[in-house]
Subunit: 156 residues, 2 copies
Amino acid sequence: MDLDPKTDLTFTRALPVPPALVWECWTSPEHIPHFFVPRPHSIKSVEIDLRVGGKFNTVMVVEGNEMPNEGVYLEVVPGKRLVFTDAYTEGWKPKPDPFMTAILDLEDDGKGGTIYTATARHRSAETAQQHEAMGFYDGWGTVVDQLVEYAQSLQR
Amino acid sequence: MDLDPKTDLTFTRALPVPPALVWECWTSPEHIPHFFVPRPHSIKSVEIDLRVGGKFNTVMVVEGNEMPNEGVYLEVVPGKRLVFTDAYTEGWKPKPDPFMTAILDLEDDGKGGTIYTATARHRSAETAQQHEAMGFYDGWGTVVDQLVEYAQSLQR
């Protein structure tokens, strides 16, 4: 992928769970609350319409405050790639002040695991720096830990 | 379609050419220069990768000045719906200051013609007002006239 170090934040991890399971967790409203935000934050509701232009809406709860986040999927390649953004709400309605576009790439490692690459693209270097300062690497890293733990609990 | 009069500009026209031909004109690099901008402005180059996330890049010439415009397709439903925006360049790279998202809906009128609806969605009421003041209705209307004239020349 063609990355711009000024506006893109990205990391790659090797996960001990297969791409199909990672995909299932990332695309099912019943699974999302189990890993999607670093605990003790939580997810109160999830709406998913898994198609290009379909909604991906969540409500996160942070210290008792509900924080809705509405977005859409831009690219849906089952088991391989999921792209979503808060730049639109469903129906291609542009939002005034989008924060990021997230790209998840899943690659089969040939041994039952997943090479997991998460990339957040931003409109400006300032937004990327802000996201990094908010704890992008820590936060998204914790989400991956929670995802693996939850996915393994489903395998048992 | 769910419209917001503050941020969306839209119009519908009945065209005497069939949807398949309108679609062909709107999606082929060789046809675009014949109608895409109101004359005497012209199009110097067109790059099209007709898929979700694929590029739709043009260079317009206005009074001798080249004005590049890069964008991507968000939705491609052959013969029916084309959605594109300057909010991204190819590879889902967000642009810092997107102007609009364009939605073209083509409907077969059952008599060899097309019900053509063009909608421009904007991030804010200010941007929509700016687009209207720039001559959205006149400009996009002229583009439709040029499109019909050109499409009819292809039918002969």
